[in-house]
Symmetry: C2
Subunit: 286 residues, 2 copies
């Protein structure tokens, strides 16, 4: 390196889930210290200090918020639970607006307890997204539908493919409803290149989130993600597709992993930057 510190990639964003044991203050400071320009925030981190103070903290550190995670869990079959969920989602939209987050990531929810009607749950998810759209539009927040890996279909998200997310988004203008492309959730999908191309043509790619698919699947299946390069995902291929589809926004690293969480936060951020430089950046033209 001849003593020259390489410039930290401008589009790389630290999602606070990756450094779960850091407070918001620590995550903001850690991101700034590493030269990052953006952070993706989870609502629990924001709630630690309140939305206004969180917004100021990020701004004062010279960072932007790439996305707020997350709204959703909108599939309840009974009206009372649905109303509570919609209220909570409106609060999430308000928080995103106050944080200056352009995007609210939506994990739509799984099957209601004891209810096996998957098709109906999918319909309800779409209806409730439609109910939220005017509220989010008024606050200039784009709802970003995130397809989750089919292994989470029962309990977390009945949207299992990018095609499904795009079909649901199609009822709305792209500025109101976009999609998240998360490598972990979508890498297996034989239609992925086609649907990424479509998402780009429809200008709906709201976020590109990256982490790897590791094996074995963790005993807590939520924590199965790994650092890019440690698993099975071909980041060159997926990054090329996302880039060719015209996406020029932030690229968030979001890793749920007991192993990653046990490590020193600065070391994780450093490794994430190194892997991004090796596995992602070379495949970005935009």
């Amino acid at each position: 390196m001849d003593g020259v510190t390489p410039i930290t990639p401008a589009r790389l964003s630290l999602n606070t889930a990756t450094t779960k044991n850091w407070t918001l203050r620590e995550a903001v400071d850690g991101a700034a210290r590493a030269g990052l320009q953006a952070v993706g925030l989870w609502r629990d981190r924001v709630a630690e200090v309140g939305t206004g103070r969180a917004a100021a903290m990020v701004r004062d550190a010279g960072l932007r918020v790439s996305s707020l995670c997350r709204g959703g869990f909108l599939t309840a079959a009974d009206p009372a639970t649905a109303a509570i969920a919609l209220n909570d989602n409106r609060a999430a939209v308000d928080e995103a607006a106050e944080l200056g987050a352009p995007v609210l990531v939506m994990v739509v929810g799984g099957l209601p307890t004891g209810n096996r009607n998957l098709a109906a749950a999918r319909v309800r998810a779409g209806e409730r997204i439609a109910e939220l759209v005017p509220y989010a539009r008024q606050r200039s927040v784009q709802l970003a539908l995130e397809p989750l890996h089919p292994m989470y279909c029962a309990d977390r998200a009945v949207i299992s493919t990018l095609k499904q997310a795009l079909d649901m988004a199609a009822d709305h203008p792209a500025a109101d409803v976009g999609v998240v492309i998360d490598s972990f959730h979508t890498w297996w999908d034989p239609e992925l290149p086609l649907q990424i191309q479509r998402a780009g043509a429809e200008r709906r790619i709201a976020s590109y989130q990256i982490c790897d698919w590791n094996l074995p699947i963790a005993s807590d299946a939520l924590l199965s993600r790994g650092m890019m390069g440690d698993g099975f995902i071909d980041f060159a291929a997926i990054t090329r597709w996302v880039d060719a589809a015209g996406y020029r926004g932030d690229i968030e690293v979001e890793i749920f992993s007991a192993d990653i969480w046990a490590r020193d936060g600065d070391a994780v951020v450093g490794l994430m930057i190194e892997r991004y430089r090796a596995l992602i950046e070379p495949f970005l033209i935009g």
Copy 2:
């Protein structure tokens, strides 16, 4: 029941994986004792006694073999490993023929070690199936491509959806290459009703295998399956689709589960029959 023993459903088949701790002899006797007419056999069970003796054992008990599990693991990138795999698959075809199994279930294999090119692995799977087809046709064995849940894409099957299996099968006559519809692997798929309809129209449904999707995912992800009715799958819906698609063949119960394996085999078979009567049979017209 007024003292009348109900007739055991004629299409219900016990896959030997469900009663893993039973030898072939015990599984055949247990199936016959319960009044079943068919068993689905795994090759390791057949190997216990040799193919000829296994065939005689099943026949002498008045049973038929609904399928042989399994061939596949055909995605190796290097020719030497591929040749070994093809040889083993030809042996599996021979065994199926000798057993009178109309169907050899094919789990095509995952990514080769250290190789992340998923698209190329999928191409190789298709090429190697094509290589096996003439051999299997001569022996009147239908190769049945099984899409596995996307959580097994990296290590077990790069065929992740029924659409993909049908697209691969489309290169061949239906009598040579069919597909397996397994509820556990496919229940989440938004295109499932459409692709089952297509599979029926193309006369490619070679097997309908049933078990439930339980949570949490087992720490050994292979063992996550559950007894029908214990999990999240809508068997009424899927069974209606398979029935409407014209499938009239055997319906195999194939459960990998440490909990089920720990129970008494006869009790498991009894419970399986009970659940079949409640959750499957009412939705079969054919």
